[in-house]
Symmetry: C2
Subunit: 469 residues, 2 copies
């Protein structure tokens, strides 16, 4: 078991460009560490003279020049963040310069020459964690927040960054610690054979914790799906119009999004954002550019797609369907539908080729069926609504969702240990052995928020951050 | 003749993302206009309560939440810039948020919904100009500054942004205004036939101004070249190693640049930066990927390259050269070298195939010759030095360089008018007619700094800016 003491921390001065790379009106270079102010003032000449390390105000903007090689590099705004009131908790400086790539690089180089070193990925946030400005789950949420591309992913990340998940874990830990201390109190008095803790209450508490852990563990699937986009598979026999449907859906977004010009994101191929949820279409390479005439609905390939997906659109050509082919579709469909973790939607395509659903196909209405014409883009909005409704029904509102596989693993281990504790009690195993499993589950919960951690764990987590954060 | 009065100005509240597009640790959304603070405070909830429009301090950072649709969108830093102490001169607000693309767009949308409108390209800088925070030449330099990719281009832009060029123009204008008023004084007393201005002094002053205008006009070539990169042509007969030389030069940069990891720019194809100057190789498409065996030194093509270039590298294979082929090279070379605006450098390639320059080739030494082995990358650094030295010799040190074609045109027109004035005096044309040409030259000089301007001119200039600046 490792504790925070195994983590090394160095408050040397680090620097990085914090704004997105490329050209823009403004860019920000961020400096943090013991000597950050000294380092910055070496190359900053304020417009109003008399500014010094001693009289500079925190959280105030100073206008001045960056001097590099004796020449003015740029006119900038400098802000000093006095420890501990900064993102990292250390003394920090932010310099906002003109966003030419040349200036950004030259300013970075100037600060490096003044004595700072280039920050590693996530090093600012790592320092924030090590200085107690946030716990580990919150720090991880910062990376998620920056990477978030949909409203749903963003909402999860910001809730976690603001400590929602950490509070939940802390609550569970507190209950367990309570439990553990009572148990250990018994051990101290073991010769007298007293039971401080009411066994029945114990079992109840344990079961509560277990249920909570199971719930959190199970939320991972949804959490992960919301973070990465909800995987949707489009399946169906050849010639039913799968590729046309995909294109119609991808076009749908453009009709829905943003009221304001210039605020829409570039569409990423084969994902759409609907009402803040990202839907990710699985393995559509074969669908995109060609008609699907040549594609066979190979069973293996189809199962593969279904395995990856949360939502499955089973497409059929209703216009060419007779009672026999309908039976086939229904059988196909019923083979799949038993998986409770997936939603199957029957998309009855090519309604443009017929007037109404003929009597002999009415059985289709018993399934969740959306009637569309992909070619004429009819009813695509109904399909979009259906997709969104399925996700909304699965989302636990404002509840806590686990969306990080590290947390998922820690929760799984904690649950295993709790199961061991439970079994131990049932088998009448001595309290001192039970206490070990209890401590183990505390350790795993603590690893989520970083109360126990190591350089290796931190390296893994922060190595995935971008530089400048 | 148009004056500032024809320019429309509206201080409604505008908003834009000011940092480069994409994902980063931090992004900045910038708001400007009469209601910018009111607009921003509609969606900003400070951590410390009690903040209001009345007690907010200028140039101070406030930590708080952005509330969008009743939910926390992000934790941000907000800065208020009280008029006139802002970039635009208006009341302005900058919000620095987490740099996820989702947050940037959502924050922008939130501010738009709070009543701002999306800023047009360069609209912040346009307002800075209209509010007298900078003149037109300085505003144009802001765009150049952001676009600058080399040290030389950057230095020109920052000098111009800080008013160097504007001062020069103001100085010329002042002299001319002086001159014009004396002339007009004479007109007022024309019936008495007095001459207030000493004619000889007049002619001297006029000639001074003319020379200065000529110098500025001529500096445009260098200024433009420094801004866009110095055009270099590589010419020579087939098989002399032109493509190998190009690759060797392009590799040279990698050996020279940046001491620090992570600070080098991505190399742009077929340009190199040496000592802060960008060299741009002309029409190397035929050289890059193939050996140049098939390429004939077609005279037309060669002249075309030479026309575009400031520096010409004439490559020959010295190892296979006899007295006869040397004569050919010398003759070729001498045909070209008469153009005084271009520098010709003879590159004697393939020195790896011989020990020393044989006696019969010594005549080559009379030219500016660099002996290299492109294949073995020998002496490429000497060639690089030669390139840089030529540019350094042409650069007028810290003198003013014109680098903007709008300025070049205005200077040309101003010069034409001055020539007319001079001719007029010589021909004894009445002073009132001369005064018209004088006013015309004042107009053209004034158009550079924007003392006279129009919506159309401003639209042309600021339309080329990026949004957010």
């Amino acid at each position: 078991m490792k504790s925070m003491e195994t983590v090394s921390y160095n408050s040397d001065t680090i620097v990085a460009i914090a704004t997105p790379s490329g050209m823009g009106a403004i860019a920000i270079v961020r400096i943090s560490g013991k000597s950050s102010l000294k380092t910055a003032l070496k190359c900053f000449k304020p417009k109003k003279s008399g500014l010094s390390k001693e009289n500079i105000q925190s959280h105030h903007l100073y206008f001045g020049d960056i001097i590099s090689d004796g020449k003015v590099l740029d006119e900038v705004l400098l802000t000093y963040f006095k420890t501990p009131h900064s993102y990292t908790g250390e003394d920090s400086v932010e310099i906002s310069c003109h966003g030419s790539e040349f200036i950004q690089q030259a300013l970075l180089q100037t600060i490096l020459e003044a004595g700072a070193r280039l920050a590693g990925p996530g090093e600012f946030t790592l320092r924030a964690f090590l200085n107690g400005k946030m716990d580990l789950a919150q720090a991880e949420a910062v990376a998620d927040l920056i990477a978030s591309e949909s409203k749903a992913a963003h909402r999860m990340a910001i809730r976690q960054m603001r400590g929602g998940f950490s509070e939940k874990i802390a609550e569970l830990r507190k209950k367990l610690v309570n439990f553990a201390s009572l148990l250990e109190l018994e051990l101290d008095f073991s010769e007298e054979d007293v039971e401080f803790a009411n066994r029945e209450q114990f079992f109840h508490l344990l079961e509560d914790i277990r249920q909570e852990l199971i719930r959190l563990k199970e939320s991972f699937k949804m959490g992960n799906v919301l973070k990465k986009g909800i995987p949707v598979a489009i399946i169906g026999k050849p010639n039913v119009g799968k590729s046309t449907l995909l294109n119609a859906i991808l076009n749908e977004e453009k009709a829905i999004v943003s009221k304001f010009p210039g605020t829409t994101r570039d569409a990423i191929e084969d994902t759409i954002a609907l009402e803040g949820y990202t839907f990710r279409f699985i393995d559509t390479a074969g669908l995109r550019d060609s008609t699907d005439v040549v594609e066979n609905m190979g069973i293996e390939k189809t199962y593969d797609k279904i395995n990856q997906a949360s939502l499955i659109l089973y497409v059929c050509d209703i216009s060419s369907m007779n009672k026999g082919s309908m039976k086939e579709v229904l059988e196909d469909f019923k083979t799949f539908i038993h998986d409770k973790n997936k939603h199957f939607i029957l998309v009855a395509n090519k309604i443009d080729k017929m007037d109404e659903v003929p009597e002999h196909l009415k059985e289709l209405l018993e399934l969740e069926t959306v009637f569309v014409s992909a070619k004429r883009k009819e009813n695509i909005h109904l399909l979009a609504e259906t997709l969104v409704n399925h996700v909304k029904n699965d989302s636990p509102g404002d509840g806590i969702l686990v969306n990080n596989s590290r947390h998922f693993e820690a929760l799984s281990h904690a649950l295993e240990s709790i199961n061991e504790v439970q079994k131990g009690f049932e088998a009448g195993i001595p309290s001192d052995l039970i206490a070990i499993d209890l401590r183990q589950s505390l350790y795993y919960l603590g690893s989520i928020t970083g109360e126990v951690t190591s350089d290796e764990i931190l390296g893994n987590i922060f190595g995935k951050f971008c530089i400048g954060k």
